[in-house]
């Protein structure tokens, strides 16, 4: 059996990544390039909040310390957050947000698809709930990658910049840390090499259609999954956690 702590830590990587991305996408609310895409991004954010709730509930239950999903979301500090570095990156322009989403979905689609066969019953159920939403997110972000890459000279240039800026944060996605390795060995998590092959295939197919190229020989940043973050996360948390920190236990 994988140790309970490894299971909790690996679930927190998924939960924190979902919540932080939702918070980032939520920043677009009222600022989207057009109304329809403003709604798309906030609807996707809502899916991610729902997903993080299921994961936090499960992590809290495993911890067995009487904590709630809200305690995990609002009362942990920067160093305790295990989200991927990719999701804490700034929204930038629309092209940055699209590329950040696309890279993440290209990983998550094969990941959650495979997680439906997990040896862990709850993760299996969460994955089966999540996979269709992920399919819609993948579809949305893929279409925008193609539309911007194959669009005007300006849109092409902008999304190219976004790729250069964000590729360094994609290595971490399929680089298993020790808690994940334990789960992979127990068939609770899928094999990351296989996920990486599928992820690369999704990226290459979309980029080919978009007339874009994936840079090679890029230095990949690591550390998010172990709680080593850029200064960006501190700003996100101070905004997101403000109410619970200032008025502990406050309810809606």
């Amino acid at each position: 059996m994988a140790s309970k702590q490894s299971l909790i830590d690996s679930i927190l990587i998924l939960a924190d990544s979902s919540l932080i991305l939702a918070q980032r996408l939520g920043e677009w609310c009222g600022h989207g390039p057009v109304l329809e895409q403003d709604m798309a991004m906030t609807n996707i954010a809502l899916d991610y909040i729902g997903r993080s709730r299921l994961l936090y509930q499960y992590a809290a239950q495993l911890q067995g310390e009487g904590k709630s999903e809200d305690d995990l979301a609002f009362l942990r500090d920067v160093g305790e957050y295990k989200n991927l570095l990719l999701v804490e990156q700034e929204n930038g322009h629309f092209g940055h947000t699209v590329i950040r989403q696309f890279f993440l979905e290209a990983f998550q689609f094969p990941f959650y698809d495979a997680l439906q066969n997990s040896q862990d019953q709850t993760l299996k159920e969460i994955a089966s709930k999540t996979i269709k939403e992920t399919a819609y997110h993948l579809k949305w972000s893929t279409e925008w990658v193609i539309r911007l890459g194959d669009g005007t000279e300006e849109s092409h240039q902008k999304i190219k910049t976004a790729i250069t800026d964000l590729v360094p944060f994609t290595g971490e996605l399929t680089q298993a840390v020790s808690c994940e390795k334990e789960l992979i060995d127990q068939n609770i998590f899928p094999d990351y090499d296989e996920i990486k092959r599928k992820m690369d295939a999704l990226i290459n197919t979309a980029f080919k259609q978009a007339g874009l190229e994936l840079p090679t020989q890029v230095y990949m940043h690591q550390g998010g999954k172990k709680g080593l973050h850029s200064e960006l996360l501190g700003y996100i948390l101070s905004d997101m956690q403000f109410l619970q920190r200032a008025y502990p236990g406050l309810e809606w």
């Binding site: 329809e36 895409q37 709604m39 798309a40 609807n43 996707i44 809502l46 899916d47 991610y48 909040i49 729902g50 997903r51 709730r53 299921l54 698809d113 299996k124 159920e125 969460i126 089966s128 709930k129 999540t130 996979i131 269709k132 939403e133 399919a135 819609y136 993948l138 579809k139 949305w140 279409e143």
Partner: protein, 165 residues
Amino acid sequence: MVIEQKNTKEYIFSLLEEVCDPEIPVLSILDLGIVRRVDLLENQLEIDITPTYTGCPAMSLIEATIKAHLEQMTQKTVIIKTVLSPAWTTDWISESGKIKLKEYGIAAPQNQARIQNILFQKEQVACPRCESLNTVLVAEFGSTACKSLYKCSDCLEPFDYFKCH
């Protein structure tokens, strides 16, 4: 006599039929297909429901409404449990539910909710007002996460489509 009738599952289901989806009030939660199990005990009523979308903001309201309505009508303690598996799909929306959706101006999900359909199929959605298939997708995500926005090129009306999920 009355008491006896009230202690049947049929009666409980008739009460559940009166609880609506707050975002699409023409649909009852039975039409929506989210009631999984009803267990009628001596002083207690246990109901399993399943969430439609993980981030659906209506779920907690639905839960509270079921509890309030059933406790008032049956005088029993109502315990609601959320179950995730098997995952809810739009395939479970009842036939009468699909008709109600159309009359309400929302095109009902028309394909089986399979991943491959979501990713690769261009959906031919019929306009709920004039039946025309000459419609265009305006936005993948509409007024709520479960709907996308279409426009009819014949009658020119915009409409919501309840996506396959």
